[in-house]
Amino acid sequence: MNNNSCQTCGTDVSRRDFLKIAGASTCGIAVAALTSGEALASSNEGLPLEEHKAMLYDSTVCIGCKQCEAACKLDNNLAEEDVNDLSGNTFTIIKEYISEDGTESAFRKYQCMHCVEPSCVASCPVAALTKLGDGPVVYDEDVCIGCRYCMQACPYGVPAYDWSQAYPLIRKCDLCYDRPEGPACAETCPKGALIYGKRGELIQMAKERIALNPDKYYENRVFGEHDGGGTSFLILAAVPFEKIGLPPLGNESLPSHTHTATSVVPGLFAGVAGLMSSIYIRTKDNEDDDLHEGGTT
């Protein structure tokens, strides 16, 4: 093997390589700059959080008549089906929890929680899911590639598929964002268990209810004010939230866990490119040029 180039793969080694490597590193930094971007895309643009569209569901008022389910099906043109969970044709469902000894029971309305910092929005690689400036988390069916990361990431198990389709799309509640009267389900509720309004006002209303009946509501708090970074679908209940399928998320938003990792990527790119270049230059004079000795191992 001659001194400066490997005959077999053609690596030509010379001092001038420094320039080329510098070029590659710059390329790495350019990629880095591209991926760094601004802050988390979330509700922080657009209306202030108090003004976001929201719903308050008071589980203690709900009688489980399921008229909201029917209204949602009608308004969204969804096929009837026999299911126990949200699905590609069921954007909302009322489920009843009964404790083992039968002394405690409660209803819960399942639907998209319209998170303040939605995991689904943070994970979708092609931004098919977005949070509108006034609160609703909506889906663009022309953009989705069907990776199903949103299904995996949503802590409430909301995004669903119509699995009978060969090329399915994500289906979920969109808070009836384009319906002038507001959500069809809230409009239908005969008991006022489901109230549509501005997030700030609804939280206020919930707190008043708690203040009026201090021992009635679980933990004297409204689920969704802070849980998982906050939601636009707020829930009051008399039973522990976990019993009605609400995960204990803490107050931190889920996307914040990813954000640290995605934000170190630019530095990582620059660092690796720099490190590799400098090692390359340092080691290239002491190539271990041991001769071909025939055999292996």
Binding site: K20, V121, S164, A166, P168, T258, I279, Y280, T296
Partner: protein
């Protein structure tokens, strides 16, 4: 090796390749079931179990493809020239690996025809977007690294010169991209903090993914090298395999310590002794993938023997596959899941096509050449 001769030519096709071809055809048939009848029929996936075997395949194959960048670093950047030949083998392996992971997307995605949306729409904060971009860019880089061999075969002297001029920056860019990409594969799971079992969930998952990908990449390089020496009579320089064995040893120790240290740091070592499916899988993953290879590679009488180096690399690969299966379904909360025959067959089919492609390339392009 027994082989079948194509009538009218002198060309011989090994029986193994014929068997892989059969698997590929069955796999392709299974894939058409997904394309025609849909995911609901072809898979056991559901709304609460949206990812399955195909994701494991992608994650594992991409990790093995990490061999390309690990070996490029060792041979080109550290200037360990004795590894040049085997680095070229790793490069081709990685290239084929990425192509088959890309092919898997055509069944896995709900809307595979929209794969190009990665170019048109982006969410810079999605780790999956990062993975997508890096894979696309890295496949391009691997193509650039692969072209010189092709040009050499075609005797296109001019093009070889062009490629030579850009080779070093291409290698650096490739290493950079795949470091970012192997770790962002781990970032995908960071948001699954309430779904992924604490034995696997960790804030340092990106680093664990990177370290385990490098480890298994070396094991995969050894394995392909071993097979190539048998099938194609490749000859590597002295000390290549025992040298790789040593690198595998250090990488395995590092990765194992990283994983155990992470568990200890978060106070979750107790989970190891829980009698759950997850703890069993964790044991398989780490005993097979790290502890046993480390023991083999530490014993002086074994770590120079072909047969034992071979075993160590196979074990290491088993460990990696188990880990990637854990993060894509075993360790994730959701509906019970067992893949359908279509999922198994298409995965095996894609794997077989990859091996056949590798065989065709190795059969036609001199990957391992006499150095002097």
């Amino acid at each position: 090796m027994s082989a079948i001769t194509i009538p009218g030519t002198k060309k011989q096709i090994p029986i193994g390749i014929i068997m892989l071809a059969v698997l590929s055809i069955v796999g392709f048939y299974a894939m058409t079931i997904r394309w025609v009848d849909g995911l609901g029929i072809a898979t056991n996936l559901s709304d609460t179990r949206p990812w399955g075997l195909w994701i494991s395949f992608d994650l594992a194959v991409m990790a093995f493809s990490g061999s390309a960048f690990t070996m490029a670093a060792v041979s080109h950047i550290l200037h360990k020239n004795k590894y040049h030949n085997i680095a070229r083998v790793a490069l081709i392996g990685g290239y084929v690996g990425y192509l088959s992971a890309g092919a898997a997307l055509t069944v896995e995605l709900g809307r595979p025809e929209r794969l190009w949306h990665f170019f048109a729409y982006h969410n810079l904060h999605s780790p999956l977007f990062e993975v997508g971009m890096c894979v696309i860019a890295y496949t391009g880089i691997l193509t650039l690294e692969f072209l010189p061999m092709l040009f050499k075969k075609l005797k296109w002297g001019k093009m070889i010169k062009v490629m030579r001029a850009i080779e070093v920056p291409v290698v650096v860019a490739g290493i950079t991209l795949s470091t970012g990409h192997q770790s962002s594969l781990g970032s995908i799971s960071l948001i699954l903090i309430y779904k992924l079992h604490p034995l696997w969930y960790s804030p340092i998952l990106p680093i664990i993914f990177l370290a385990s990908a490098m480890t298994s990449g070396i094991a995969m390089t050894m394995l392909v090298g071993f097979i190539g020496t048998r099938v194609f009579n490749w000859e590597f320089r002295k000390g290549v395999f025992s040298g790789l064995g040593r690198i595998l040893l250090y990488a395995s120790i590092f990765t194992l310590l990283l994983k155990l240290g992470d568990l200890a740091w978060s106070g979750e070592l107790g989970l190891l002794f829980e009698n759950s499916l997850q703890s069993k899988i964790y044991f398989i993953e780490n005993v097979a993938g790290y502890v046993l290879p480390i023991i083999i590679l530490l014993i002086p009488t074994l770590n120079k023997k072909w047969s034992w180096l071979f075993r160590a690399s196979v074990l290491s690969i088993i460990g990696l596959v188990t880990h990637r299966m854990a993060v894509s379904f075993f360790g994730l909360a959701g509906a019970d899941y067992f893949p359908t025959w279509q999922e198994f067959a298409s995965t095996a089919g894609l794997f077989s096509v990859g091996i056949i492609l590798l065989w065709i390339i190795a059969d036609n392009i001199p990957l391992v050449v006499e150095e002097h």
